[in-house]
Symmetry: C2
Subunit: 382 residues, 2 copies
Amino acid sequence: MPDSFPPDSVGLVAPQKLHFDTPLTLACGQTLDRYELMVETYGTLNADASNAVLICHALSGHHHAAGYHTEDDRKPGWWDTCIGPGKPIDTNRFFVVSLNNLGGCHGSTGPNAINPESGRPFGPDFPVITVTDWVNSQARLADRLGIQTWAAVVGGSLGGMQALQWSMSYPDRLRHAVVIASTPRLTAQNIAFNEVARKAITSDPEFHGGRFYDHDAIPRRGLMLARMVGHITYLSDASMGEKFGRELRDQAYKFGFDAEFQVESYLRYQGERFSETFDANTYLLMTKALDYFDPAYEHDNQLAKAVAQAQCEFLVLSFSTDWRFTPARSEELVRALIAARRKASYAEIDAPWGHDAFLIPTPRYMDIFTTYMDRVAREVGA
Amino acid sequence: MPDSFPPDSVGLVAPQKLHFDTPLTLACGQTLDRYELMVETYGTLNADASNAVLICHALSGHHHAAGYHTEDDRKPGWWDTCIGPGKPIDTNRFFVVSLNNLGGCHGSTGPNAINPESGRPFGPDFPVITVTDWVNSQARLADRLGIQTWAAVVGGSLGGMQALQWSMSYPDRLRHAVVIASTPRLTAQNIAFNEVARKAITSDPEFHGGRFYDHDAIPRRGLMLARMVGHITYLSDASMGEKFGRELRDQAYKFGFDAEFQVESYLRYQGERFSETFDANTYLLMTKALDYFDPAYEHDNQLAKAVAQAQCEFLVLSFSTDWRFTPARSEELVRALIAARRKASYAEIDAPWGHDAFLIPTPRYMDIFTTYMDRVAREVGA
């Protein structure tokens, strides 16, 4: 590892693209005959393949969770705060697997990939993917990597839903599920925000019904708005106040409609940058996967019945100012786990950063996460 | 009054358009040489003109606050729950004045009015209006109606900002300010939501830089998105859950992007209806007036110094689940009033409806509001 990377970094990493040829039947009824998954791994798989940890990503995430792709990268992977030597997910002990989910836009098969049937990008013909579909595709990935049982499946937000679904879909293939800043189902308000984002994208004239690739167009305005709305829900009122307050970019009011308050230019910048890198159809798919996730739905709306399928142990973490997925939603899950007599540890972390807190290494969060993962490592002799 | 109207309704009412020819200098430095205000009144002005109450409207409000315009109207004015015979603002005792604010799109001079200089609609040339400008124009209206002193100036949300501004701009022209579900200034999160709404409108290709009238176009998509976002912030997570939950329009998931959840179709309907009736430039102006309001700003950021200008008494009301303008924001105002040794009554009403609660006649809200206004009426001998 070159000197330029911090000592607790996994350093230079290279993604790999894995091909799958066994047809995958999806919840929607459609079948993907073949697909590719973009994957990164950190650390070393031990002899009995017992030290593997799966990282599941959230709405705008991808396979690049830790380390750097080039010597010149200014920013590491999206969860570098938690993955690396000596970090909660310690790459000196665990073999960490991170992938871009099916339907994504960072190399795995998704709407921007070529549909073999038409020779053109799938666009709106790409099937709607559910959390269960992702977990099924991740199980194939585990097979490919020779991993029968994950030491832990870990995820924040939408990633936490995948960890929870793993515990129900493949109860004998994971020892621990770590569900962070997540929820067992969206509220009406959550769905409403997702619907605004979708409507922003689909009503953008550059969306062309999802076939914007064929028109050499990008629905930038829609994606920008979707991201701006999303971003507000990732932060807390207090942290936005702390960060921006009512600070103006210049001294006085301008009485026009340019960005005047710092928070306005910040949001615009975030939205614009996102709109240049993310696929609009993927955004739609991700929000729909969020909306649909509801394991209780097929169990008489009783979450305890749903999670009774699980055999693993759970660590559930929430953050005090997260108003997207409030601590109450995590507590709902924990109550169901207790009712189903599963082993569950729970902590609400006091942090001012809203939903984004799951990406920020506050001391109590890191302490609890590290302690738990240390126990997981010792259990599997890692 | 015909039998068809409820007995506690003001019944049939007719708006009137008042012309003003004395130039009004605005906070932005521009001057409106002449303008019109659309006004409704309910009840009778008493001999010494002491029983007048001014109603100030919120973002999407207008002059039609109570009663019906035709026998066939299905819905009364927007605050009919609080204005009428025997209601908190009792039209048997008070002379109630309600107007469409300058910059509005319901008959008062605004961006969709003809600019005498160009002979075309003002559009983006209409000056940015502040809460202080509104209060100044309302003072002209009071002069016109022969009202030297309001018994009370009353408003919810953005309307509450006007009531507060009245107390500071014209301390000797009102006896009471009733500030409901409001705030002495927006937070960064509030501004952020407004910025999303503005960006949705201005990035709609049909906006044409605000000159959509000249293009025979309406930025419907942008207005719809703006309203959808706004609407989410007017309701509480709990009330949306209560009203819609995760209820589907049909039995099962459809795995597509049509509105599936009830909350999605509700939001789309609200957005579409709004986009057909509201002016996009007015929406921009209203959000900007909200963002700019900050009476403490010119008093060393000390709200107590700003409100020390006031002479009137205050009733401040907030609602427990209002996350747009939380009770904490009202308490900030009350603390400043107390520090400035003003007379203030305050109540936080326990209501599940979020910000919209100020429009809903919950018993404790009605009790407190009625009791307070009864005292106001007795003070002025009404």
